[in-house]
């Protein structure tokens, strides 16, 4: 996609850039807190993949649904979930988005139609088909967007979910964020295809494949799939190629890849790309720096909020094991 030409286009890119930068800074703060032992469990960072989540989610309406993976921080922030409650969740505090019950892999926000981060690779794909199924059942016009990695494209739930979505023409957009490594296993050792989206052919559904380094391009392509779903023409399988700059999780030093490879991908950092486009469209570097400062402050406040929040009371241990019958 070419650089923004009009003022409107430039402002549009600025907003998307702001969202990507928020994710980047939030993740950097998460990494720091994790290193200090403040955050437990696994912590899968989204750094490097921001253009995919921000671009894709910006193609949605409020009524649409998002189903995410264990790498859900970026998707949640792109959907507009509060950084404070997300950071507090990472800290395991009662003020967290799910009161400390979920942690990094299980952000949920019903109001925002954010249908969860799910920890079993690919297991969530048939859930996403179910949410889309409900939209068709109720004719509510909503589309469900499901993110997964290329590692999930080999699990049964992926194939079963795709087949069911295809035969029932569900309003579902499946986005494979291919970051080329399923934990430490490179894609060429695990995938029978070079492009996950070609598997759409096996289910006779639409497909698309793009590079995920330009946020507006991602949005344009996802929009096409979302509109197709909304028209009742069924699901789309997209592959959006991207790269994570950090390891699989905070506990992964990522020794299975070379420094050269990492450096090569860093040249395609979606934030640097967007920043360059903004500057060449006439946006002042100082203003961008000012925006960064505001974002850093927001993130600092979220850390401060998480630090100061209380842990959930022990009496909550059994809360929510079962839903009450009203």
């Amino acid at each position: 996609m070419s650089q923004p030409k009009t003022k409107k286009e430039t402002e549009d890119l600025l907003e998307l850039y702001r969202q990507m930068l928020l994710i980047r800074r939030f993740e950097e703060a998460s990494a720091k807190a994790y290193s200090m032992g403040k955050i437990g469990g696994f912590c899968h960072l989204y750094i490097g993949q921001e253009a995919v989540g921000v671009g894709a989610i910006s193609a949605l309406e409020e009524k649409d649904y998002i189903v995410s993976t264990y790498r859900d921080h970026g998707h949640a922030l792109a959907r507009g979930l509060e950084p404070k409650s997300l950071m507090a969740e990472l800290y395991g505090k009662k003020t967290g988005i799910v009161s400390g019950n979920g942690g990094s892999m299980h952000f949920f926000d019903k109001k925002k139609h954010f249908m969860g981060g799910h920890g079993i690779v690919g297991g969530h794909i048939s859930l996403a088909a179910g949410i889309a199924y409900a939209s068709k059942y109720r004719e509510d016009g909503a589309v469900t967007l499901c993110f997964f990695g290329e590692g999930a494209a080999n699990i049964g739930s992926f194939h079963e979910g795709m087949n069911l979505a295809a035969i029932w023409k569900l309003p579902l957009v499946m986005i494979c964020e291919n970051n080329h490594y399923a934990m430490g296993t490179p894609e060429y050792r695990a995938l029978s295809v070079k492009d996950v989206s070609v598997r759409a052919a096996a289910y006779d559904i639409a497909r698309d494949h793009i590079e995920g380094d330009e946020v507006r391009k991602v949005r344009e392509h996802v929009k096409v799939a979302v509109e197709r779903a909304r028209r009742g023409e069924g699901p789309t399988l997209m592959e959006i190629s991207t790269y994570r700059f950090r390891g699989h999780s905070m506990s992964d030093p990522a020794k299975y890849r070379t420094k050269e490879e990492l450096e090569k991908y860093k040249q395609g950092d979606p934030l640097i790309k967007a920043e360059k486009d903004l500057v060449s469209a006439g946006w002042a570097q100082e203003e961008l720096a000012k925006m960064d400062e505001i974002i850093l402050k927001t993130v600092e406040e979220s850390v401060d909020f998480a630090e100061k929040s209380e842990e959930p009371p022990l009496g909550w241990l059994y809360k929510h094991v079962y839903a009450e019958n009203v």
């Binding site: 249908m115 969860g116 920890g119 048939s126 088909a129 179910g130 949410i131 059942y137 929510h320 839903a323």
Partner: protein
């Protein structure tokens, strides 16, 4: 009072609930056009149409997940597994998604879903089609597990399950579908976590559920003729468990035999035995005994199948030993 088969009672429960609530749908293999592999959904497609009685491909992981996803946004699916043996390929969805969603989301996403279908042993179906999974599912917090024996209990408990806001594992014994029993006219519900004394007695309590009662009840009848009075407690609800009901019976009879169709090791009966020794130890006049399926995959040969399962003879022999 109407006499219904077990399958008719289940059908009546689903039909009545679906008439009331448009959010309920039935989904599974062969539930629609074929009218159910065991004919439980007979007539339902004609009544409710393809939107609400949905045939699926052979795809348990997929359609279990679809049901859970639909429940996340407020629908109330009934998912039929043709047999519980096939639920094993959906077990990730049942355990990792259905059972935990409400907890992981801090109460934002209850999963009001019923997973139901044929379970247990029977009909020389051999190792992969003859298994009781009550203990497996009862192990998981977040799930409720029911295993009714009579048509009346099947009706009342299925209605309760459909109205419950939690994922329910509803195990129907495949050899019971044709069994008949009186089902009271008019609508009634049976609460979960309430056992039923199927036969009153004074000398020994047999705790059992589902198809195993087919052996227990005639055994108790024969023992009565020998002058041995056995109380038969049908759990009906495995989780939640009627602890008080069990303990009350044990305090009355002072002896307990647990009969289950499932395997012995880590079987649910072991949990019942633990409960009794912990809460009613002083009331026991004999060690708690168990009769279970033998610890083998189910054999095909008729004689071996029979010998691997609980039976009237085994129960009578064990009770005589315990009463001595």
């Amino acid at each position: 009072m109407a006499v219904l088969t077990y399958r008719e009672a289940l059908n009546r429960a689903m039909t009545e609930e679906m008439e009331k609530d448009p959010n309920i749908f039935l989904m599974g293999e062969e539930v629609g056009h074929y009218e159910g592999a065991y004919k439980v959904s007979q007539g339902m497609l004609a009544k409710f149409g393809e939107k609400r009685v949905i045939d699926t491909p052979i795809s348990e992981n997929g359609f279990a997940g679809v049901g859970i996803g639909a429940a996340m946004v407020g629908l109330r699916p009934i998912i039929e597994f043709m047999t519980w043996n096939f639920s094993l390929v959906a077990i990730d969805q049942i355990i990792n998604s259905a059972a935990k969603m409400n907890y992981m989301s801090a109460g934002q996403f209850p999963i009001p879903i019923v997973f139901r279908g044929a379970g247990g042993a029977g009909g020389r179906l051999a190792a992969q089609h003859s298994q009781s999974f009550e203990s497996w599912y009862a192990h998981i917090p977040g799930l409720k597990v029911l295993a009714p024996y009579t048509p009346s209990d099947a009706y009342g408990l299925l209605k309760t399950s459909i109205r419950d806001n939690n994922p329910t594992i509803f195990i129907e014994s495949e050899v019971l579908y044709g069994s008949k029993g009186e089902v009271p006219e008019g609508e009634f519900l049976i609460p979960m976590g309430k056992s039923d004394i199927k036969r009153e007695g004074t000398q020994l309590t047999i705790v059992s559920w589902s198809r195993a009662l087919m052996y227990v009840l005639p055994a108790a009848e024969k023992l009565a003729k020998e002058g041995i009075s056995v109380e038969v407690l049908d759990l009906r609800s495995i989780r939640p468990l009627d602890e008080e009901g069990i303990l009350a019976s044990v305090r009355k009879t002072n002896k307990v035999l647990i009969v289950e169709e499932g395997w012995n090791v880590a079987g649910f009966g072991a949990q019942v035995a633990y409960l009794i020794q912990k809460e009613a130890f002083d009331y026991l006049d004999a060690p708690i005994e168990r009769i279970t399926q033998e610890d083998v995959p189910m054999p095909y040969a008729a004689n071996l199948e029979k010998s691997s399962l609980p039976s009237e003879e085994k129960i009578i022999k064990k009770v005589r030993e315990m009463i001595k």
